[in-house]
């Protein structure tokens, strides 16, 4: 089975949007992190994700065949055209929320990129092969903080648990499948979401255990990001991201 270029374009856009939106969120910590060293750490993670997003959006633009560049896709789409999961667009909340989200997302990205390193699409495979090391570091960073806050003081434990509860329901959407994913799994382009789940569970559970945190129980599974159905928060994020480019079309600096 060979994948259609349009399908691969949409898939690359999904992964690129995930990385782009989380890069923006982490960038919001710049000059606001608890310590200057943490400031640099979070922005380094953001820059890794931005690099992944650039390559993936460029690939999506090529395959789409409408002549759109990475900048066109990042700056000139409205929120309904963004295909990121809801997890990455959630507002940062406090530091514990931010770390909880990074743990959930990077643990997923490690499994995803490890699988995609052998994708039939060579650009996706290339991004994944490089990105798996970056995601591995993000996961380590988030895990170290999760353990320190969870197994820290009663207050830090409470806030880390609260951050985890806040972000947890959005993790389910990471493993969603739809017709497009089915076609691309069959064509060897996409990773099978079910195959990513055991590794994710194992790693997250191990970190939570060490952090003396409780794995949240929830039946609420917000979804819709892949179809462009987002929360209000994404609109605000995009207005900041896109404002300069839209006010001064084609501006370069």
């Amino acid at each position: 089975v060979t994948a259609s270029p349009a399908d691969v374009a949409t898939y690359a856009l999904r992964l690129g949007d995930d990385a782009l939106v989380l890069a923006e969120r982490l960038g919001e910590w710049c000059t606001r992190a608890p310590e200057i060293e943490e400031d640099m750490a979070l922005v380094n993670v953001a820059l890794d994700l931005l690099g992944q997003a650039r390559a993936l959006l460029t690939r999506a633009g090529e395959l789409e065949g409408r002549g759109r560049s990475e900048d066109d896709l990042a700056y000139l789409r409205d929120d309904r055209e963004f295909t990121n999961v809801l997890l990455v667009e959630q507002e940062n909340g406090d530091f514990a929320c931010t770390i909880a989200r990074l743990l959930l997302f990077s643990s997923y990205q490690v499994e995803l990129y490890a699988a995609l390193a052998s994708s039939a699409d060579e650009v996706v495979a290339g991004v994944a092969a490089k990105g798996v090391k970056e995601a591995g570091y993000h996961r380590t960073h988030a895990g170290e903080w999760t353990v320190r806050l969870g197994d820290g003081t009663p207050l830090s434990h409470e806030r880390m648990q609260a951050g985890l509860e806040r972000m947890w329901p959005y993790a389910e959407e990471l493993f969603e499948r739809d017709a497009l994913v089915e076609r691309l799994v069959a064509a060897g382009v996409a990773a099978d979401p079910d195959a990513l789940r055991p590794g994710w569970d194992r790693h997250v559970d191990a970190v939570l255990a060490e952090a003396t945190l409780t794995r949240p129980e929830t039946s609420w599974r917000p979804t819709g990001g892949r179809r462009g159905l987002h929360g209000e928060a994404l609109g605000h994020l995009l207005s900041e991201l896109q404002h300069l480019h839209r006010s001064h079309p084609g501006v370069a600096w």
Partner: protein, 96 residues
Amino acid sequence: VTKTPDTPLWEVFVRARRGLSHVHAGSLHAPDARLALLRARDVYTRRGEGVSIWVVPSAEITASSPDEKDQLFDPAADKVYRHPTFYTVPDGVEHL
């Protein structure tokens, strides 16, 4: 940024390449050794500067005092014969 008083200072040493020594790169604040190592990676090797990092609690370093500078270092200033360039090599000596 105000620093919480219980976040200790660490000295960071980075080895640029295999075969070279670790060289002092700077210092940073971190709550423990593991985070100091991760932060050193983020602060001091983000442009590909290193292949290995050491972090040492700054409090564990014993430093010479500026007050002792004269007696520790000045006596070496006039011992020119300790430099190989002090000795003239006779013409015709090979393999020296």
